[in-house]
Symmetry: C2
Subunit: 483 residues, 2 copies
């Protein structure tokens, strides 16, 4: 199954070109290489072709053609996903939404926007800010990732703690099914905030492109809080910072964001952004408080007090909006900054109940020693969502093996502690066998049945998510692909 | 199909008694009468039997027995639903969860509780309040309705505006499928806040008991806001109050609740609760602001200013917690209070975009005149969720006809204005044909396919929700039922 690559017949190439235009059909190997993986670079699969439709009608026609030809389709946004969800395993036609990036309308009165699936997350928030509104989910990759991609992986971000993940901010969406039929799920653009019937919208969010191709999304916009106070607190160790996180949450305080970076990450980020992070600290917390201006001082004093009790060695407050933006830019650039200190790194994504944060950090440290790999830590600490960055050099197969083994052992520990193998990056290719450890056979069978309700042939983004997909038949149109 | 009633064979009765105990199987007509409808009293259907299991194991065994016998099953909570979702159309076994009302655990550290599906909404919030936490969805019926029922209809309440509906507060649930298999969907009790894979949890919420029987629910608890300020503002008319609602929302203020009652409702509520509502006002708004104490005064001043500009004639602030509770008790008792001034009433439930609130109230008034029926209005105004209460006397068939026609015309206008035929009460029996006006054939077919993925025979709560269910075969096990 893996490592195959097919070429498109001339007839197929011409048919696709007639729909989207010749320049929007890629089929030469040198053009396809860019699409052989996402940010999970450990597995590579060359697609049969890439098509770039310009509007929902073109998407429908491409999908209908692929249905006739028996070709698998793989929807793709910006390719920033981190677990191989957009890899063309076994070949197939990648349908890139990157040309469909328009904001179709912003309705400030009803606080919503209608966007094309390829719209970049940050562009939406920039456009909405003219009306004093924002799109709440703010992944670190927000400068590149698309709303359609956010839908596919139910993306979070630092502000998930207070505002929830993508599903909480998507009212409705247009989906092209694998047979080319188009449905609108959830609330329509001209409708009120409620849709009756079964929540098909919800099931598409987080489905990693396996139920169809999302072409348009109706999102909820929210006003930013009246005021914010952003604290940067340094601790001698990750354990002590973890203790402060627990204390803040248990005091009933829900910050807008509550992020942790460990020593290695602080160093990498400082080298790139020169923010002036306290060097030598074992960990820092970024704590963003929100509310009406007059109440924030007292809240901040309480948080500072809780941090001091947990042994904080320094507490700083961002005094200007510029300083706040600089701090967030540094935090969101953490993954990229690590690229300066290591040729490659594996971004892991796991979840533990918040009460086990200190325990999992101890485990990560032990894994780092056991496998002889360096591991940095950036956490959405308030959510218990950990992101260990495991450094390696892909030129050294033994390092790759050790990095993978360490990542695996960390995720298995997350499960033992009652957590999850992914918080926001999805299952994709990377974690297919782990899904089986988290769910029973009955639950997985029900998920498969639901998928078949949307896509009876399993032709949309096959060989992903479900453990059985790797081993058994998920979709076998081999001869047709080569036709 | 309708108006049938079957008797349980002695063999079947004995088999069910062996599972749940003889006193927990009801089969005599006089015992079944209580279960012939929910709060939608216009259609009545006598079930074949009612069983009251005491734990999930008994539910499983009852369901397995019904599967063997080909009997439909109808899950039921407190029966406070308002659109006939629990009616036993064509007969079948009602599985009442009312004995399964325990709170199994409260975990204040991770802010969650595990409850049995029959747990009463208010009991959960009372138990959680010992830890300074609440369960956010607070329907008016919260003193009686169950968490399982909240899941079935994705219940809201006055505080939905800020905190969202039931789906935002349910992490996971146990579901017994129509063949007796048990699955856990979403986050498990011992797990962190995220579950990977397809969101089956979400699709069950709002499915009105058609995908299986929910037996246990893992809910999210939240701390109440640090402080509240509850305003009661009187206006000369509903139109002016609607204008104030728009102004508040457009100013970027998100109150905890923003409710409207019209003159008729004020009168009914005052007669029952003697709160001291401003008599003679055309409408009142209840506006609950939340935040840190020091910021609330300024926020309240701003809201008062916006109300005055919209022509408010009186602004009062609840000065004590007791006064606040009294006000909410009166608001939540509004439906019941209307019982004092009319022998019967039909509670409608529709949604319009907030910007059309004034328009729909004008339409309701016109319908009231056109059909010669009195209509009171209680709104979740901030959500655009209207509840016209249409008064009638069931002894007079012509009044019934006119009440139904007025309700229908109001909902059709909601659709025309881009709204929905239900905000929180569900489709049930009442609105089956309206679902067809809101969705296309492809969307409905997908919902049906999804239902079949859970319940291939359509034996769980049949003849509901889908327009085709009334006309065509939803489930036809007639001879088996009578066996």
């Amino acid at each position: 199954m893996e490592g195959m690559s097919f070429s498109l017949s001339e007839r197929q190439r011409k048919a696709l070109s007639r729909i989207v235009g010749e320049s929007h059909v890629l089929w030469r190997e040198e053009d396809l290489l860019v699409y052989e993986c996402d940010a999970y670079t450990l597995e590579k699969h060359l697609p049969t072709a890439v098509v770039l439709p310009g509007d929902p009608r073109e998407v429908r026609e491409v999908v209908r053609f692929c249905a006739t030809e028996g070709l698998p389709i793989i929807p793709r946004g910006a390719g920033t996903s981190l677990s191989g969800s957009v890899a063309a395993v076994g070949g197939g036609v990648v349908v890139s939404l990157s040309r469909m990036r328009r904001i179709l309308s912003i309705d400030p009165r009803n606080r919503r926007a209608l966007v094309e699936a390829g719209c970049v997350n940050l562009h939406l928030t920039q456009a909405a800010s003219r009306y004093g509104l924002v799109f709440a989910p703010d992944p670190s990759s927000q400068g590149a990732c698309t709303i359609g991609g956010n839908v596919a992986t139910n993306s979070g971000g630092p502000h998930t703690l207070r505002y929830g993940v993508t599903t909480n901010h998507v009212l409705g969406l247009e989906l092209v099914l694998s047979d080319g039929q188009t449905v609108w799920l959830g609330v329509r653009p001209e409708e009120g905030d409620d849709a009756p019937g079964l929540d098909l919208r919800g099931v598409v969010i987080g489905s990693e492109g396996m139920l169809g191709i999302v072409t348009q999304v109706l999102v909820r916009l929210i006003p930013p809080p009246p005021a914010r106070k952003t604290l940067l607190v340094a601790f001698p160790s990750v354990t002590e910072a973890s203790r402060a996180v627990s204390a803040i949450i248990e005091a009933g305080i829900v910050p807008g964001a509550l992020e942790m970076m460990d020593e290695l990450i602080i160093r990498a980020v400082e080298a790139t952004y020169q923010f002036g992070f306290p060097q030598g600290a074992g960990a820092v917390l970024i704590i963003e408080l929100e509310g009406v201006p007059s109440g924030l001082d007292r809240l901040a004093a309480k948080v500072e007090d809780l941090c001091r009790k947990a042994n904080a060695c320094e507490v700083r407050v961002a005094t200007t909006e510029k300083e706040r933006n600089h701090l967030w830019k540094a935090r969101k650039g953490a993954f990229g900054a690590v690229g300066r200190i290591s040729p490659n790194y594996l971004t892991q994504d796991g979840v533990v109940p918040r009460s086990h944060l200190a325990e999992i950090t101890g485990w990560i440290e032990a894994c780092s020693k056991k496998y002889g790999v360096t591991i940095g830590n950036v956490f959405h600490a308030g959510d218990g969502n950990i992101h260990p960055l495991i450094l390696y050099d892909e030129q050294d197969p033994d390092q790759v093996r050790r990095a993978l083994a360490a990542g695996r052992e960390i995720l298995e520990r997350c499960l033992e502690l009652g957590g999850s193998v992914t918080g926001e990056h999805g299952i994709g290719l990377e974690k297919m066998d782990l899904l089986e450890k988290q769910f029973g056979a009955a639950e997985l069978a029900l998920m498969q049945a639901l998928r078949r309700a949307f896509d009876p042939q399993g032709r949309c983004n096959p060989y992903k998510m479900f453990p059985s997909s790797r081993r058994c038949a998920d979709f076998f149109p081999r001869r047709q692909i080569a036709a």
